[in-house]
Structure formats: C-alpha cells, structure tokens
Symmetry: C2
Subunit: 166 residues, 2 copies
C-alpha cells in the first residue's frame, strides 16, 4: 500500500504533541508567546480542514473577540516561516497557467518563483491504474517540489522582501 490516508487519530496525536512544545519552540526561536499566537496555533492544529485565514479568525474570535484579521494573516505567515505550519496553496499568490497538459510536475524556486517542468515516471507508476483512495475517486495529480535555483543561490540575497511578481 503506497498511498494511504492519514487517520484522524494519528493527526490528532501529532497535533497534541506539536501544541505541547509550541511555546518552548517559540522562545527558542526568539518569538514572543502571545495569547493570540497560542490561540491561532491551537485553532490550526485542532482543525483537519486545512482552514483559510478567515476560518481561523472566526474560531479564534470566540476567545479573543478583539483580535484583528490582519493578525491572523500575519501570524499564519509567521508560523510557516518558523516551520510550525505549511501553506497548502504553496508559493503562488495568483493563478499561473501551463499549456502543457501531459502528465508532468513542477520544481519551483522559493525565492524567484521560477518554475520548471519535471517528469517522474515512477510517480506515474505509483498513481497509474489507481482510480480510488478511501472516499475519493482520483482524477490526476500535481507534484510541486520546492527548491532554490542556482541563480538565487549565487546571489546570496537574504531578507524576506516581496518577491518579484513576474
């Protein structure tokens, strides 16, 4: 079985562990442990829904009625930066299109956001012939590999400014 859904029990256990260590990791990383951040990570870990910022906002407002939506956005980004969360929409902030509809995947430079096509025949082999998984009927797939390209690696530009939108 090479393709398996993650069970709710496993996810919940993992979430509890992450939450328990959260404050400690923040302090180690030089981040203040604020009630807002705790509420946000708690709401995020409590959900198996991969929620958007507004859903977290709605949840956190029950405890912190005065929290700002901007804080929720900012905090979620911060959590991603310190490895406490993943942004499932990945690196793009707007739609990008590809005229190549052959089965293929993408490597994306996390700095300049350049994309290159890749082929992974073995992945196709894993997915091929597989038409369902749990409660899902499968249609197709897309793998996005995060990377840093040589160009960005040599220009050793740090800093986290706005990337060019090209």
């Amino acid at each position: 079985m090479e393709l398996q859904l993650v069970s709710e029990g496993r996810r919940a256990g993992y979430a509890a562990r992450r939450l328990a260590e959260f404050a400690e990791r923040c302090r180690k990383g030089g981040l203040a442990v604020t009630p807002q951040r705790l509420a946000i990570i708690r709401a995020l870990l409590a959900s198996a829904e991969h929620p958007r910022a507004d859903a977290i906002y709605a949840q956190v407002r029950k405890e912190h009625p005065h929290i700002s939506l901007a804080t929720v956005h900012r905090t979620l980004e911060t959590l991603c930066e310190i490895g406490e969360a993943r942004k499932v929409t990945m690196l793009h902030d707007s739609a990008r299109y590809d005229g190549n509809v052959m089965p293929h995947h993408h490597v994306v430079c996390v700095k300049c956001r350049r994309i290159r096509d890749i082929e992974i025949p073995e992945l196709e082999r894993i997915l091929d012939g597989r038409s369902e998984l749990g409660e899902f009927t499968l249609l197709g797939s897309s793998l996005e590999i995060h990377a840093v390209c040589d160009r960005c690696n040599s220009r050793r530009v740090r800093g986290r400014g706005k990337r060019s939108r090209g």
Copy 2:
C-alpha cells in the same frame, strides 16, 4: 533516473503540435475559434514560464491592443475546462494552512475542495537523499491529487457554479 527536467526542445515540439490542432479541437468541442483565443493559446504555449494572466495579457496586447484583461482571465479558465491548459495554482483561490508539517501530501475534492492528508512512502523514497535536480537545490515537495469525494459523487450536482468557499 526517476526525476528529470523536461527539455526545452521537447516542450516546444509539444507546444507546436498542440497549437496546430487547437482550432479543430475547439470546433469539435463547440467553442468558437476567435482571434483572441488563438492569440491567448499561442502566447501560453510559447511560454515556458507558467505565466500569470497579466503576462499573457501583456503579450497578447501587442497584437490585440483592445483586448480586455477580463477576456484573458475568462479564456484561460475556459482553456483549463476544455483541457487545453492547466492551472498550476490548482484548485485554491486563497491560502489554506496545515499545522501538520510531517512529510505528507493531499487529496482534494475538485467539487467541494475538501482536503485529506495522505502519505506516500514510495514517493518519499524517490525524493529522499536527492538534494539537487539540474539547476535546483531541492527543499521539499507537496503532491496534490485531484479527486471527487463520495459525498459530491452521490449528489450528482453538475453545473459549474461558484464552489462554496468553506
């Protein structure tokens, strides 16, 4: 070699073939072949950059100075619907977050956009130990499998209305 970049030559040849057959496929599918659509698919296929709508717009404007940005957005969506293009940002129109930072991937229902985590040990095996690919230094990866969930499959709701943003 299970991971390979797609060469520019291969991509360009593919693009030329797709373009040659484009008008025919449109007519078969009951879609009008307009100069704007031709210009847009040509611009899309000519690019290896996975461009955003605004880049296509800029390119197409050289030939069609009066084309509307709305037409470009609409046409790109249409092209995706008829299988002439792929939206690389996939199904999400806004950021979604995941508190689970273990290596794992996602199945997404293309109708209700529900997401479930999956594990693919064999994919991890393909990627593990691999630290570079061509000009890229690899960091991590995320596979998104498109699917239809049972719930949406049984409610045989067709139509392409706005999906719930939940």
